[in-house]
């Protein structure tokens, strides 16, 4: 199994411009790709057997002021997952949709738009929120969104006699 995965990584490395690759388990590896190369890379991966988009999601790397977009593809024939990672800027985050390559990405992109504020050019079904109705704050899965502050501002505070709190890793 490990051998065939190494062969695949080598094959991908020969064709695509990969900035970094990482083996995660014996059935899973990750590749980092510049944001400009994502579409052709995904199209290539689809052509060599990674025919299913398992999930498209996003990570808020607030310390670097970046978002990391994650595309996980599944190769059922070989039983391999590839995690394709790319970095986009966090200020006015925008990217181009992949629904021409993986039509199933439509709703994943809508979700990332709603929860991280990333807009996907070409995927224009944003007129109505998908999961969050009448949301009036910054996108909630960003790291600088604090649910406690939001809830304090929206709902009346309850006066409790005693608040139980445990020390977590030395931090209250």
């Amino acid at each position: 199994m490990m051998n065939s995965m190494n062969n695949i990584i080598k094959q991908i490395d020969d064709v695509l411009t990969i900035t970094n690759s990482e083996i995660i388990t014996n059935r899973q590896f990750a590749i980092d790709i510049n944001s400009g190369d994502v579409h052709q890379s995904l199209a290539y991966l689809k052509s060599i057997g990674f025919t299913q988009l398992s999930i498209l999601t996003c990570i808020d790397l607030i310390a670097n002021n970046e978002f990391q977009l994650i595309y996980i593809l599944n190769n059922w024939e070989l039983g391999l997952f590839v995690i394709v990672r790319t970095i986009i800027p966090r200020d006015n985050p925008a990217f181009v949709t992949i629904i021409n390559i993986f039509p199933g990405a439509k709703y994943y992109e809508r979700e990332v738009h709603e929860f991280f504020g990333v807009t996907f050019e070409g995927n224009d079904s944003y007129s109505k929120p998908l999961l969050l109705e009448i949301w009036d704050d910054i996108p909630p899965l960003r790291k600088d969104f604090d649910p406690q502050v939001y809830s304090d501002s929206k709902f009346p505070k309850r006066d409790l006699d005693k608040i139980y709190r445990s020390k977590i890793g030395g931090v209250d």
Partner: protein, 369 residues
Amino acid sequence: MKEVKLFLGPQHPGMHGNYSVHMYVDGDIIKKARPTPGFLHRGFEKLMERRLWMGNLALIPRICVVEPDINEMVYAQGIETLANVEVPEKAHWIRMLILEMARLAIHIMGLGGIGGPTGMYTITYWAIAQRDLILDLFEEITGARVYHMYIVPGGVRKQLPVGILDKVSKLLDELDVKIPEYKELALKHPIIHKRIKDNIMLPADVVWELGVTGIGMRSAIGKEYDLRKVQPYARYDQVEFDVPIANYSDGLTRMNTKYKEIFQSIRILRQVIEKMPKEGEVRTRVSTGSALRWTVPAGMVYSAIESSRGEYGYFIVSDGKEMPYRIAVRGASFPQGLLGIEKYLVGHRIDDASLWMDTMGVCSPEIDR
């Protein structure tokens, strides 16, 4: 002809859980369909970032109500990969016992679910009663009926109670007799044939377009694409079982595939009972110190298993601290529940909408999270 907007769900006997489809209909025919999730959005992904690695265990089973154990399994499996922990042999077998019992419970409930949209409630009542007998065993093993919190990072929470394997065997013998009656009652019934045979089709190219996995995929493309076979986890590589497949995916084929999978689960469970080590630990420590100070080494992993509805996975990112940095959930029914409804419900009759939801196994809590 003027179009009428019709709301199917969230309160409707044919609707699966708190989900809604807005349909624009012309007479009986659906002209446009809009899936409307969000009734069950509870912000799990944000909540998980603010809970301890251990504390999340009480939270995650609630992501999929009818099949909660898959959440515990993917979560535990992901953490074990990141922390590089080896799970004790016996724990692997106990996990398989739990996962297959959960699959039995949800498949039986899914077979019974066809009674809602077709109006044949007898099978629904049978299925609910049969599932309760499985939940009784879960209660004995884990202490809880629905949300078990039993599969934990590093193994399972505690040893199996004495004599439980005999009780599971007895239940399997009962199911062997009882489940064929479901076929006689429902899957051979002319009214149900009329409703789901050659109807609500899922062609092979649509499978790839949407990203459908599980029974929908296997009954359409005729390949054994089951993660238990393709990427065996736990000890699925040491048991023998078949993956039911078909090349023509109408509603009836999908129900028949589900029916066949029940017997494969029974077959796996019999082998698990036979091969499970009698002695041995069931849990190792993932990290040192109290659970309040547990950390998981930095890294990211996509942990996926085969649920009753297809590939179910967590994408877990750790920054080496006491809480996860990000966890993204791949709900197995996300593709067919959203894009599938929007694109492929069009042209069907109104009453086919709930049959689509049922035979595709759309689970609203895992779409909303």
